[in-house]
Each structure stands twice: as C-alpha cells, then as structure tokens.
Symmetry: C2
Subunit: 343 residues, 2 copies
DNA sequence: AAAAAAACTTAACGCGCGTCAATATTTAAT
DNA sequence: ATTAAATATTGACGCGCGTTAAGTTTTTTT
C-alpha cells in the first residue's frame, strides 16, 4: 500500500492510468466497465485506498443510494430485529441504509420524514406509529419519496404495504385455544397505538362468532408504548376483581402478555396448560423475550424473514420502476402458531 | 406559503433580499447574524420552505454536523434505550446523529467504522463489541476520527471513556446479598463478550475476599449475544446437578438472569426473598425487562442519564477542542441498587 | 457628530464528482 | 483483414454551497 494520500478522483485516475469518467462509471456500477479495466482499477484500489467523496457523489446524482428505514419504537426488540434484517438486505444490494426510530412520538416521526427528505433517498421502508401518526404529513411525504410501508398499514398511503395477516394470527390462536380448552377472552389496550390491534380485535370477534361463541373483550387503560407495564397494571386490576368470563386469555400482543404473566405470578395465579393451572394465556407476535416468560408464552409468530424480505424486494421494484408501481399492492403473510407452556 | 420551488441558496437569497454569504452564515449558525437579518431570513423561510442541500453543504465544510453512534447490539433494549438518549441530545445540540449496530459481529463493526469514515463525522460515540472487536482497526479509526468510547472500554483507545463503575455494581449487590442472607455465588458466561463481565468477576472476587467469604464462580458455556438463552441453558444444567455452593446467585448481567429465572421457574424452584424460597437471584444492569421477570429481578441500575449525558458532553468538548483532549479521561458512574422480589 | 467596530454585499473561486459531446481505441462480427 | 459495435479518453461544464477579499452599510463607542 502506497503512502501517498489520494484526495480526489482525478488523482486516482492518473495514478491508476484510467480516465476519470471511467472511474466514475466504475464506482456507480463496477459491472459497467470492461473486465480488463475493472481489474486494473481494483488493483489500483488495493494500492492506494482511495474512496470517492460521498457528498460530492450524491450532490448531482439523480438518485442517491440511500435507503431510509423508519420504525416506531426501536427499544422494542421486535422492531430492532426486523430492522436488522432489512438493513442487511439493503447493504447486500449495494445501498446505504440509515435507521431511524420514532420512539413512539408523532412529532419525532414527522421530524424524521423531514430529515429523510434532505437525504434524498432512493427509497424508504417505513413502519408508521399508526394511530399517533400525522396522516397528512406522511401522505405528502409518500408522494415525494418512494416509500413502502411495513408492519402497520395506513390505508392508501405509500406505494405498497407488506405485513402480517392479523386475521391469520387470531385464527391460529383462537382455534387452538378453543380445541384445547375454553374459548378465550381477548385482552387489549383500550386505545391501541397500532392499527394491527384493531384488526386483531375484529378478527377475534368474527372468529368467535363463526365458532358459535360469545366474544368477550377486556380493555385496559394506558397510553403510549410501555405495553408491558400497561399489561401488568391491567392484569393486576382484572385479576383482583375475579370477574373473568373465561379461564383462557388471549392478549393482543406478547408485550401485554409479558406484563400479564408478571402480574399473575405476583398474585400467585398458576398459568399454563396443566390441569392444576388456573389460567391459560396466549398472545401474538413471538416477541424475542416470549421464550423466557414464566411460563414460556404460547404465541403466534410473524414470518419475520418473509416480511422483511418482501418489503425490501418491493422497494427495489419501486425504485427500478422510477418511483411508481402499477398499483398499490398489499401483501400479508400468514402467521405460525408457537406452542409453549402458557396455554 | 408561496408555490415557487426554490432550488438553491442563490435563489433563496434573491427572494429574501439578503446576500448569499449571509444566508450561508445563517445556516451554519443562526446566532452569527444580526437579529434583524435573522428575522427577515426566518420570515422568508416561512414563505418559501427552502432547505440547503446537505450534500453540497458537507462537501467542503471542514467539519460536518454528523455524529456516528455505534452500539454492539441494538436488539438489546438496554442499548436501544441508551442510543435513544444519546441521539436526542445530539439533535438538541444541532447535530445529525446516525445510529449503527454491530449486531454482535466483528466484521460488521469494522464495516461500520469504514462507512463512518466516509461520512466525515464531527465525532463518534462508540460502544465497542469488546472481546470480539478488532483492536487494531478501532485504534486506527480513533486516530483519524474524534471518538468517545462508552459502556465498554478498550484501554488506551479513543479520546475518552464514559461508562459505569463495575466495581460499584458488584459492591452494591454483594453487600446487599450478604447482609440480607447468604454470600452469593457468581453466575457468568465462560467467555464473556464484554470486558465489563471480566471487571465484574474480579470485583466479585475481591469484595468477597474483603468480606471474608470464599468466592464461588459458576461459568456456563455459550458464545455470542443470546445471553438469555445461555443463562437458561446454563441454569438448567446447574440446577439439575444440585451442587450449588450457595442459595444465593448473582448473575453477571440481567439478561443471563432472565434466562436463569425462566429455567428456575420451569424446574419448579421458588426464587425470592421470602422464607419459603429455595433460591435468591440478583443481577446487574436494570434491563428494561427486569421489572417483568418472575419474580421481578433485584438488580443494580446504570445511571443511564449520566452516562449518555457525559458521553455526549465529552464528545462536544472533544469536537470543540479540534479533535484532541489534553489527556484520555475515564469517567465511571456509580450504580444504584434496585430492590425487587428475586433477592 | 465623528470615529471605530461590526456586520453586510458583491464578485469570484474552488470543492469533488456527474455527465455530455467529440474523438480515439479496443473488441466482436463478418 | 475489414467493418461495425462497444467501450475509453479528452476536455469541458455544471451542481450547490463554503469561503474569501474588497468595498459598503449599519451599529456602537466616545
């Protein structure tokens, strides 16, 4: 490796003996130059470790190689995991992903979209807050920037949506709970942050009715994204009243269930599918921690891989299509029951 | 709001009636222009919503306003939380933070530093992987880019280190456990990913010896960052052998304890500080989920706020000092015992 | 009110790279 | 070997903004 520091593309062109426009072409797409040239460039690269200035590169390029990834709440390991997945795929495809979290705040979500605009990204993968989102801001953003929504849908907004089929989640859980014991009550937040929660409630009601049972929805108070705490408090309240309609509870999501199980444990209520248990508890999402609840949580899993994979693929199609798809597609993946000890 | 789209600073200068160099000054530091001028610019900004092109801005600036934040494992809510804290502070100070996670991989960590170089950041806040880190790569990076290490120290590398005092963690936990019951055995991974783990073990041994007790370290197998799973498997192994030297266990960190408690529950072993409990378990970190373990986990908390606050402040000093501090400082914050039900 | 200091304007250059037109060279096809 | 097609080179311009120098206006000081 030579000691001389190369400071721009012209210099690198001269030391490598190749013209600057060709070097420029190479960095935009190595396969666009002849193999002999490519190997010469790569040899020179080994020698002199030059890297183009990304700011100058992006300045006039019609499209940067940036991709924005926005999740509503990164402290939730579920989103951290899905973001990781997406990030890796973008890197593999030669893009520069940048990760943002709205941290549950509407204002922050808007600010992120604002920042994202100046990044002039090729595309954005966006999991909105949901109910708390500022629809009009997001709608405007999606008109200007190629955006694929994932996890949580805002109807009609964005070029496409990729997520999990909430009906499938609830069908799996309710049908299992019914055939292995009593039909479940549904445990959720009174004002869910996320549209998925509403879809799950509706699915619960419709499936229960189809099976000939009376739906029973338990709504607990609490705002924001501290779901475990809301589940815990709600469960403490519900369990102390002893007015449960069923000995089987289906929580809208795992994080509520984590709080619920903590409360049940504290109250000395045995949860599980053994005969001596007082309660069965199941939920949805297959949160990374649900293996380690006490008892371990019976839940329904997202197809993580499929969702992140498809989101990224859809965005790439969108980018290649110049920012437009023929029509807004909505892809929902089936869920998978994970049998553990809690129900 | 006017309809005309303004595409560069010169145009904005002409519509606002202020010269371009002054506009440029304003965007670099709004307080650097006279108040009358500032209000006129801001009025024009309301009218025309112009935003400078960040790529052109960063191209020749001696220093960008970018700050890199690198954590070893973002799916761990502990790091997600601390990253959030740091991110907010950087934004408040007018910087552009960008978040990266090494996802436990040495290779990725190196790639991130590589990407970070081309971002030409004003500074970097970096929590290294620890044992898995490529010391020489990081050392070289820190020579080129103003970097403050946090959470996990690599001795002599970076301009400063900010973290928690591992001795303080263990002092709090061991002293509490001793005065409220039996002296604890120490439960940890055989090959810890993180230097903090080694410091905690050493602290444990020294404190036990100081108090006149025989240290007992239980090492369990497992590689990587799936700590809960490692704790679970380790506990299943240890608990089935029934060779525990003490009825009190101190886990190196909360994530191991989360796995441990799941195993104990599964084995029907009662954990807690009531007389009828078979085992007491405590740990360190005050992980966001430790409130919801069964039983809730007695642990020792980081001073999150202080660590993130001080890290950011130190980086700002470093940046203002032109990338050099008089000497490498190491600031360790005290920990705080959190009494819950498990011990 | 005059002088000094501070802040502004005008004009112009440079940064590093994308991109284009005209020309030269290499490769593939006949 | 000749011709056509594909790819490189040369030279030049532009992008949007940072920055500087010289001159002008505004504000502060005395």
């Amino acid at each position: 490796m030579s000691e001389s520091k190369i400071k721009n593309m012209a210099e690198f062109a001269s030391v490598s003996g190749i013209s600057r426009p060709t070097i420029s072409k190479y960095f935009n797409d190595p396969t666009s130059v002849r193999a002999t040239i490519r190997t010469r460039i790569e040899a020179a690269l080994e020698e002199h470790d030059y890297r183009p200035n990304i700011y100058a590169m992006n300045q006039n390029r019609r499209l940067t190689k940036n991709i924005g990834i926005v999740v509503p709440y990164l402290s939730d390991p579920f989103f951290a995991e899905i973001a990781r997945n997406i990030e890796q795929r973008c890197i593999a495809a030669g893009f520069w992903p940048t990760l943002f979290s709205s941290h549950g705040s509407r204002e922050l979500e808007c600010n992120i979209l604002d920042s994202l605009r100046s990044l002039k990204p090729a595309g954005v993968l966006f999991a909105p807050l949901g109910r708390a989102s500022d629809r009009s801001v997001i709608e405007k953003f999606c008109k200007d920037v190629p955006t694929v929504l994932f996890d949580s849908d805002l109807e009609g907004i964005g070029a496409a949506f990729v997520g999990s089929d909430n009906y499938s989640f609830v069908a799996q859980s309710v049908e299992y709970l019914v055939r292995s014991g009593a039909p479940p009550s549904f445990f959720e937040m009174r004002t869910p942050a996320n549209p998925n929660a509403n879809k799950r409630r509706k699915a619960y009601i419709s499936i229960m009715e189809r099976l000939g049972f009376e739906p029973d929805v338990i709504k607990v108070d609490g705002e924001g994204w501290a779901f475990e705490d809301i589940g815990y408090r709600g469960a403490m309240h519900v369990l102390s009243q002893d007015t449960l309609a069923s000995d089987t509870l289906l929580c809208s999501n795992d994080r509520l269930a984590i709080g619920f199980l903590a409360a049940a444990f504290e109250k000395g209520i045995r949860v599980g599918r053994e005969p001596d248990s007082a309660l069965r508890v199941a939920a949805h999402d297959d949160h990374p921690f649900s293996r380690f609840t006490c008892p371990s949580l019976t839940t329904v899993a997202h197809d993580y891989e499929a969702v992140s994979n498809r989101s990224v693929e859809t965005l790439f199609e969108l980018i290649e299509g110049g920012g437009r798809l023929t029509s807004r597609t909505e892809k929902l993946f089936e869920a998978r029951l994970i049998l553990r000890a809690s129900a």
